[in-house]
Symmetry: C2
Subunit: 340 residues, 2 copies
């Protein structure tokens, strides 16, 4: 390889509200050489996820923000082109935090997963068989704990977290209600086994949800917030569990002052009266469960018990537009950028 060029997208400015093209900048630079203990990766797939919106903001979150002019953070599937780490050889396929770029130099010790012997498509290591799938698995295992006969509700249910939540909960014997935006996604939910599938864009969505859960809601897997949350709250049963892994509806509203009334004190009264349990998590909080997830989910995928859908966009240059669409629910399935 003579002087290959790395194409990368950096954070150009911090958005207030919705991000747009002005907040990113595409750059072409020579591919850097790996130092001792590092490997050079050719990124094949880049995962686009809602949490990335949070990384664009300054301030406190569960991870530090991306710095201005730094490459946008992102998980990738990559192939080792050059290795200065004894654990990796040229040609190895790995999952790494490779970022929004076509090549990446990463510390070998920081590579989170090898994909040796993977029989599923490599892109699934970024979706149903990766972080989003594990988010669903761990959130249900540790917090949601759906029991046979209970009712679980999840929104963004055609996405990689929501779809997996619904299918695992169904295997656990729960009745599942999936919510998505638009009729195509709604119909898809029915094909993957949700007992009830609803379109949150319907004018009478709240009424539809009420009708769909005659016995109330025992688990609300919160990955969206906004109007779905508002419709769910009055339908919660005593002892309901709310794992919170995302609040995408408010990601763009951070720091904004929202109009009243103030519902927080009333929600705390409800938490007490109904003995609700609300807990935020990200998947790495439960990383000890990951080997068990790989084994169990690998089997479910091989058996066809868990289905998944990917939304694959070609070319890094299309990543920003795809990401804007993700924040608006325009993707249909796990959003992945194919990088070659």
């Amino acid at each position: 390889m003579s002087n290959p060029i790395n194409t990368r997208i950096v954070l150009a400015a911090r958005p207030s509200g919705e991000p747009d093209a002005s907040h990113f900048r595409l750059e072409r630079l020579p591919v850097p050489a790996p130092g001792p203990g590092q490997v050079l990766l050719r990124n094949r797939y880049l995962s686009l996820d809602p949490y990335m919106r949070g990384r664009m903001d300054a301030g406190r979150s569960y991870s530090p923000p991306v710095a201005i002019d730094d490459v946008m953070e992102g998980r990738t599937v990559g192939e080792v082109l050059e290795s200065r780490h004894p654990g990796f050889a040229v040609g190895d396929q790995v999952v790494a935090t490779g970022g929004w770029q076509t090549f990446a130099v990463v510390d070998g010790d920081a590579i989170t997963r090898r994909l040796d012997g993977m029989t599923l498509p490599l892109s699934t290591a970024l979706g149903v068989y990766g972080m989003p799938g594990f988010t669903a698995y761990a959130g249900l295992h540790e917090i949601g704990k759906p029991q046979p006969g209970e009712t679980l509700v999840v929104a963004a249910a055609s996405g990689p977290v929501g779809a997996t939540v619904g299918q695992i909960a169904k295997m656990r014997g729960a009745r599942t209600v999936g919510i998505a935006g638009g009729e195509a996604k709604r119909q898809y939910l029915e094909t993957i086994g949700f007992d009830v599938a609803l379109d949150h864009r319907a004018d009478d969505f709240s009424e539809q949800l009420r009708t769909a859960v005659p016995g109330g809601i025992d688990v609300y897997f919160e990955n969206v917030g906004g109007k779905v949350f508002d419709a769910v709250v009055p339908l919660l049963n005593d002892f309901a569990r709310i794992p919170v892994c995302g609040t995408i509806a408010t990601y763009n509203a951070r720091g904004q002052v929202l109009p009243g009334p103030d519902r927080l004190p009333g929600f705390f009264s409800q938490i007490l009266r109904q003995r609700l349990s609300v807990r935020g998590f990200i998947q790495r909080d439960f990383i000890d469960l990951f080997p068990r997830f790989l084994e169990e989910m690998g089997q479910w995928l091989a058996d066809g018990r868990i289905q998944y859908r990917e939304d694959i966009v070609e070319g890094l240059e299309n990543a920003p537009e795809a990401f804007f669409g993700l924040l608006k629910g325009r993707n249909f399935g796990k959003l992945v950028v194919k990088l070659e």
Copy 2:
């Protein structure tokens, strides 16, 4: 006994907002006779607790409301005067849901606890060695889980729940910050071992709290709500736990529309960012722990490792006024009405 008279206080009307004397009515009626399986109790002590405000409202809570013209619900220590239940004999001392009255007929099977061989004052079975003490014990054991070196904050800290929370957390190795209203209570907190004691009436209370927790807050035991909660929220550490056993500050506000801004979406974002855990509970949710509590707390009290304070009011006719004071924080220690 020839025709003894039962003095009782019934719910005369449902308050909207603060209750006052017009919502109660004192009645004198002949003492009823116990039926098969029942016992007649002479109530000696009546516990007054914040949760009773909730029972005055119609509508959904963790227990049904008291009906209009029914005797107010309340836990009592009583002595068996007459027994038609094989498990109880005349003279037995018990804890029962005897209500705001001097005599009570209750099902023997519904008596929650016998006080045979109790060496502590009987009134403590309604306080530190009863439901409030168990609320503290169970909430810490199951939800708060203070670890050595962590910081715990609790308000209403001179009350029976808060004082016990602070002392147990201290035994568990946590740093404890107690909050109460007024200088006398604040000083009392120092005598029972809180590392820092604050008066929430201070103009610069929020600043004082911030200064008191340089390492942030790991456990906020929520039994008050209101301005203490508001001051706590920005100081919470990642993975903080918030057991919620009371929101007394808003008990009178139920059904009211509170002015904005709406803090609920922002709080959910914080729950996610900081992986907070918020869980409502009442002590009976953890009733399996009660025998262990009796053993452990009995020993702590005998050893003087847990201290307590009672606020004893004489005479049932003074119960309503004492209850109004309880809702305003005027009591100093566990509020108990002595009934003879």
